[in-house]
Symmetry: C2
Subunit: 355 residues, 2 copies
């Protein structure tokens, strides 16, 4: 029920203002975007869709995927959308419509929800996404932010399966930055809503390294347009986003493709400040790169004769690409290659249920 | 990562088996349905969609919308889908694809998740819905079941707005059954997974009344096809599902339509066992009918000259329809009519944030 009147004061809690007032407040903030025939406020949204539609769902749980005290709420809103954008991009799709389902403790303030939506709506505007609906639920436990993102599929989609024997394992960007950022948060470093450093915590190294890693964790920037370019140029046999960590995600791609893969440990483009973290007694740098999750970079299976063309396209999109190994016939699984020796790798991606 | 091997034992917890094994287990259970080009197991699902697509999201939170100890998990799975089916039906759509996002405490067993999916997949099969993806997240708090349902819009959609001065307020089914069922659960009554009574708790009345109310709460059965029939025959000006309770939902429709409405208290089709609950010292019967939520019946704005045709269509679909008031020009809001006197009603639908 939408009522006119004074805007809700930011310091009030949602337990005080209630579900209906909060819903009306959110609704008043969300614009109707292109292709949205009916947006928030009816039993369902009505959308103009293409014949082939992509859909993905990803959620962030307080205390598991983020901590309220570690993340400015606007960055949290951005990230909640970004992790879904990454999935649509990894399928070479174009993101269009999002629903936002929030399970909120009663002590959450209007100011928090507003800042969350500030970030979410700004990210949506940057990426051509319309927020078309969602749900508000009370919870006695931690906050859950659950977003479903709907996208248009282009003429081609990228899949996890389809890697071929002899394809190169290629990654975009650097590995372990987000995991390094998590370590830095754990040791007291903090970022403000604009991405500036509030405090370095125990970190005594370079400030730009610190900011980069914190941003990778709190405000990831996947190569969103690159997947579509790869699909249009038919440059890869398989693709997926790196969300759980290289070791686990590559194992997933091997499983989907019915192949084995090896990695050259020396080739991994590991985050520069990981070495400093290792020196300070944190996790070792190689582990951060190999197992650290949430980089939201792309993992690609590239036929060797397409590598030069891939590099050309990557240069256009300003994306770093690094060959780090190869797919080979064999039982699904990942090995590390030391000269002529292959050492089987046990996937050690983070498993939240068992942490 | 999908591995062959022994099925997961039902008594094991998801904290023991981990996210990847649980995901593989769920994936192995979910069939690929019509229109699903790529289902569970890639970065996103790929779906064949119509030019106009409906999307809705609704979630159930343990301790707020259900209690694990009150609901057999298979009925919980059914209900989680049904509350979304109700939204698509209220817009006159045809449900097609669902994503299922679960935030689960580590102590949840494989048996529980299996039973939840038993109910969810059975309900999906009954209603032509394919489960196409979702998310698994760990939580340190209560379970959250969040479903997004995508449907095809037909040539017509029903909206909350559009009621006209003089339209009749009409509801399907009975009011207060689900709220009565909630009261009966609170007083110890329990249902088994097949809808049979395990124990009557403090209830000493008729067993069929008890079973009906418990089912209304635990396994609601909205009139799913009726909305489409109404839209095809252009018999209503506005429609929405009754999820929060008549008083609040009617106020919402008034707000959306810019009208006032009055209700005839004597006309409300209140659940029969509500009177018995009142007699036993529970909530009064009229309140249960007026404010009780979760009935998932339809609230309709019907032009008076369409009422006979509406009754004919309702008879075909075996749906009870009852005129209970009228929309009139005036500031948005709901009144009770006693003879010539209108008494303004304060919406008292349940607000979980303030409970």
């Amino acid at each position: 029920m939408i009522r006119g009147g004074a805007p809700l004061a930011p310091e009030r809690t949602i337990g005080e203002v209630g579900e209906r007032a909060l819903l009306a407040h959110i609704r008043s903030r969300v614009p109707l975007g292109p292709g949205v025939v009916i947006g928030i406020g009816d039993d369902a949204a009505l959308l103009a869709t293409t014949p082939l539609t992509l859909v993905t769902t990803d959620s962030l749980v307080d205390g598991v995927h983020f901590r309220r005290e570690w993340s400015p709420p606007s960055l949290l809103g951005r990230k909640a959308l970004t992790v879904n954008l990454s999935d649509i991009a990894a399928m070479a799709g174009t993101p269009r419509f999002a629903t936002v389902s929030l399970a909120l403790p009663a002590d959450v303030t209007i100011g928090f929800v507003d800042a969350l939506y500030d970030g979410l709506l700004a990210r949506a505007a940057e990426t051509g996404v319309s927020v078309v609906g969602g749900n508000l639920a009370a919870t006695t436990g931690p906050m859950v932010i659950d977003i479903t993102l709907i996208g248009d599929a282009g003429g081609f989609v990228l899949r996890r399966k389809g890697a071929e024997d002899g394809d190169l394992v290629v990654v975009t960007g650097t590995l372990g930055s987000a995991a390094a950022g998590l370590h830095l948060l754990e040791t007291g470093a903090r970022l403000d809503a604009e991405g500036g450093i509030v405090t370095a915590g125990l970190w005594v190294g370079d400030a730009s390294d610190l900011a980069r890693c914190l941003r990778a964790q709190l405000d990831p920037a996947p190569p969103l347009a690159f997947g579509r370019a790869l699909a249009e140029h038919a440059l890869v046999h398989a693709a997926m986003d790196l969300s759980d960590g290289l070791s686990g995600d590559l194992a997933t791609m091997c499983e989907a493709s019915g192949l084995s893969a090896w990695l050259d440990p020396a080739a991994l483009p590991i985050e520069a400040c990981a070495a400093a973290i290792e020196k300070e007694g944190g996790r070792d740098a190689f582990s951060l790169g190999l197992h650290g999750g949430e980089d939201y970079e792309l993992l690609l299976a590239v036929p060797p004769d397409a590598l030069d063309a891939l590099r050309d396209v990557a240069a256009v999109w300003d994306v770093a690409v690094t060959p780090i190994g190869a797919f080979v016939a064999g039982p699904p699984g990942v090995s590390l290659r030391f000269g002529e020796t292959l050492r089987r790798l046990r996937p050690a991606s983070h498993d939240h249920f068992r942490s």
